[in-house]
């Protein structure tokens, strides 16, 4: 298993990420890090500041991928995708 990917522009960003949530937990999106096609797509599908999210399911053993409910839709995200999402 590879170590969790870190983002070049936020290596020591200590804010909570979506990946810190357990199944069934809810939170709000604060920000999506990195401006690249993956992040832009995350924003497009509804991970915008203030949006409510809930972790619906996560896969054994490393909680990768995750199923996230956002704005009336559910998306499966790989962990490194979910890692970009800062929550409050």
């Amino acid at each position: 298993m590879s170590p969790e990917p870190r983002h070049p522009d936020a290596p020591r960003d200590s804010r909570r990420r979506l990946t810190a949530l357990a199944v069934g937990e809810r939170a709000r999106v604060a920000e999506v890090l990195t401006d690249d096609p993956i992040s832009r797509r995350l924003i497009e599908v509804g991970f915008v500041p203030g949006a409510f999210i809930e972790v619906i399911a996560s896969m054994w053993p490393a909680a990768d991928p995750l199923a996230i409910r956002v704005g009336g839709s559910t998306f499966a995200l790989r962990r490194h995708e979910a890692e970009r999402i800062v929550i409050t």
Binding site: S2, P5, V32, D35, P37, I38, S39, R40, R41, L42, I43, E44, V45, G46, V48, P49, I56, A57, M59, W60, P61, A62, D64, P65, A67, R69, G71, G72, S73, T74, F75, A76, L77, R78, H80, E81
Partner: protein, 623 residues
């Protein structure tokens, strides 16, 4: 693509899974034309319909997208067509934005982005019946006012469910005229995308949009079906059932087709005088067409399951469950659907890889697709197993069945291995996109299922059938000419080009235990793997109907080959890339010779290696 000014060009735009295709099917029925956009392998679906007034509409079903910032080739096409940037594709005069009424926020955001393109737009709330039943509410008129575009309701699954859309298009009466391409359009920035979300939320609030809480039943279903353990068990059971059904339900229609083709060939043989024409028709054309359509029952049944599972919303969840396993060898969970299709035939499987956004993932999926045991290998497996594996029980298992299972398993395992090696070669990074939407569950609609199947069948027959038929005729020629010299004793095929080639090949194949008879049979087997069975019958100069030949062949090879050769040929067939049609489709899908050649070389190398090891080990063990 002729520009008919009397027809209004309407493009359907919407999110993936919004019911766009169902609505398109409702309007156009089977009057559809499926092709590719020039230069790329993105499917172009067009259909026509006439309104009661007699006015004609030409509909273009654009690939589903979340926005005008593409991440896949498909999405780029949607953007480019809407902007008028695709060669030979006139810009549409009107856009129908199809929204799933149970899924409004993202659709409305897309609508806001599309509205900026400056084309007349109609927004359609599809599946409005389901939405109302589930407790969604929206003031359609208010939304229309705020959006500045008509908003109407449709139910694509019901007869007449699209009448409101037709009426609206008629009412708008957009004149047919060439629309110039957009100039100066800029891709929206992250901030602009966020702004459209805010705007969509504002409009929805003004229109009194309410959506129900996620239903308990769905939450429970997801908890079970997406549970890492229960979900996996259910998936395994489901796949087992599907395969069981594919093989048992397809048996009698396949027999029927087989009998029909044989009877037709017999009829031609009886009706025509002995000669080249008779042989070409009976052994080349009819046998060639027969070898393709005999697999249709299996393909149709497998696709019926795949389409039903896709419609119901389950397939993306299966991809979610398998993403970890497939990700560990460098594949995406999205590769699951193409690989599943490849068990029927690699050709539709390879065509289904278009949904994989990452090019490298897609290429690897294409390269390993032929390792899934396609139905054409079954007749070969059946013959060899019957000849070399004793009918014996080991515990609760039957030895022959067990060997068949091992062959299937060997294919899957080697696919994972090859993908893993490809990942090592291409660099070990694993940051590919999954980002897969898991849509709400719903019952599949029969009509959609039927139309979807019809389309898959048509595409398969057109793409595979043409190639296989041409090859069969070519191989017929190679194995018929030159005719045997007067007074020859062996089978006619021995003296033909194919026979000479086979004998030359036998030198190379001797180390893996293949004799010249096998080498000759492998050549016509290039058209489709199962043809090798018939070719072996020809080489051993057996006559009679197919069943008799197979039975006789089974005992001939059992006595002449020996176990090591039999097992080596089985191992060979797990890998052997003996399907030129697959290679032709790979060339088409990847726009070049590089990947088909790579596939050919690596599969031959693996086949040779596997057969060599099997032959030598068996030889050593049996003494």
């Amino acid at each position: 693509m002729s520009v008919d000014t009397a027809e209004l060009r309407v493009a359907f735009v919407g999110l993936p899974n919004c019911g766009k295709t169902a609505l398109f099917n409702r309007l156009t029925g089977s009057r559809q034309k499926v092709a590719n956009y020039p230069g790329v392998t993105v499917e172009r679906k067009e259909g026509v319909f006439a309104a009661p007034s007699g006015r004609r509409y030409r509909l273009l079903d654009l690939p589903g997208t979340y926005g005008l910032k593409p991440t896949t080739l498909d999405e780029a096409i949607t953007r480019d067509v809407a902007l008028g940037r695709v060669a030979q594709e006139p810009r549409p005069e009107t856009i129908v934005l199809v929204a799933d009424a149970t899924h409004l926020p993202l659709s409305l955001r897309l609508a806001l982005e599309v509205r900026r393109l400056g084309l007349p737009m109609v927004m359609v709330l599809n599946m409005s019946d389901v939405a109302r039943r589930r407790g969604f509410a929206i003031d359609r008129e208010a939304l229309s006012r705020e959006l500045g575009a008509p908003v109407i309701e449709t139910v694509a699954t019901r007869s007449g469910g699209a009448d409101a859309l037709i009426a609206e298009l008629e009412r708008l009466a957009v004149p047919t005229h060439p629309v110039p391409p957009v100039s100066g359009w800029q891709e929206p920035t992250a901030a602009e995308v966020t702004a459209t979300h805010t705007e969509a939320a504002r409009l929805l609030e003004l229109a009194g949009y309410r959506e129900p809480l996620r239903s308990r039943a769905v939450a429970v279903a997801d908890r079970i079906l997406m549970n890492p353990f229960a979900g996996m068990l259910i998936l395994a059971a489901l796949l087992f059932f599907v395969f069981q059904a594919v093989f048992s339900w397809a048996a009698w229609p396949m027999d029927l087709i087989d009998a029909g083709v044989t009877a037709l060939a017999e009829f031609v043989r009886g009706a025509l005088p002995e000669g080249s024409l008779r042989s070409l028709l009976a052994d080349g054309v009819i046998a060639g067409v027969g070898s393709v359509i005999v697999f249709l029952p299996q393909i149709v049944i497998l696709f019926a399951f795949i389409l039903a599972l896709e419609d119901s919303g389950y397939l993306p969840r299966a991809a979610y469950l398998l993403d970890r396993v497939m990700g560990s060898v460098g594949l995406s969970g999205r590769a699951f659907i193409p690989l599943l299709s490849s068990f029927a035939c690699a050709i539709p499987g390879i065509m289904a890889t278009r949904t994989i956004p990452n090019l490298r993932d897609r290429i690897v999926t294409i390269l390993v697709a032929p390792l899934m045991t396609c139905s054409a290998r079954l007749p070969v497996y059946a013959l060899l197993i019957a000849a070399f594996i004793p009918q014996r029980d080991i515990g609760v298992f039957n030895l022959q069945g067990l060997v068949l299972f091992v062959l299937y398993f060997a294919g899957v395992a080697s696919a994972l291995l090859v993908a893993w090696v490809a990942k090592l070669i291409a660099g070990g990074q694993n940051n590919h996109l999954l980002m897969l939407e898991l849509p709400d569950y719903q019952w599949p609609s029969w009509r959609n299922l039927a139309l979807g199947l019809w389309e898959k069948t048509r595409v398969f027959l057109a793409r595979a059938g043409g190639i296989i038929l041409a090859l069969m005729v070519l191989l017929w020629f190679l194995s018929t000419y030159p005719a045997p010299p007067v007074g020859a004793t062996g089978a006619a095929i021995e003296y033909s080009f194919a026979g000479q080639l086979g004998k030359a090949l036998a030198v190379v194949l001797a180390p893996i235990g293949f004799n010249w008879q096998i080498a000759i049979a492998l050549i016509p087997g290039l058209a489709a793997r199962e043809v090798a069975v018939g070719a072996l019958g020809t080489v051993y100069a057996l006559s009679g109907d197919e069943e008799a030949v197979t039975t006789a062949l089974s005992s001939v090879i059992a006595s002449e080959w020996g176990l090591p050769t039999g097992l080596a040929l089985l191992a060979w067939y797990v890998f052997a890339p003996q399907c030129l049609a697959t290679l032709a489709v790979v060339r088409r899908e990847t726009n070049g010779w590089r990947y088909p050649l790579l596939m050919l070389v690596y599969l031959f190398a693996l086949a040779y290696l596997a057969a060599f090891v099997t032959y030598r080990v068996t030889l050593a063990m049996t003494g």
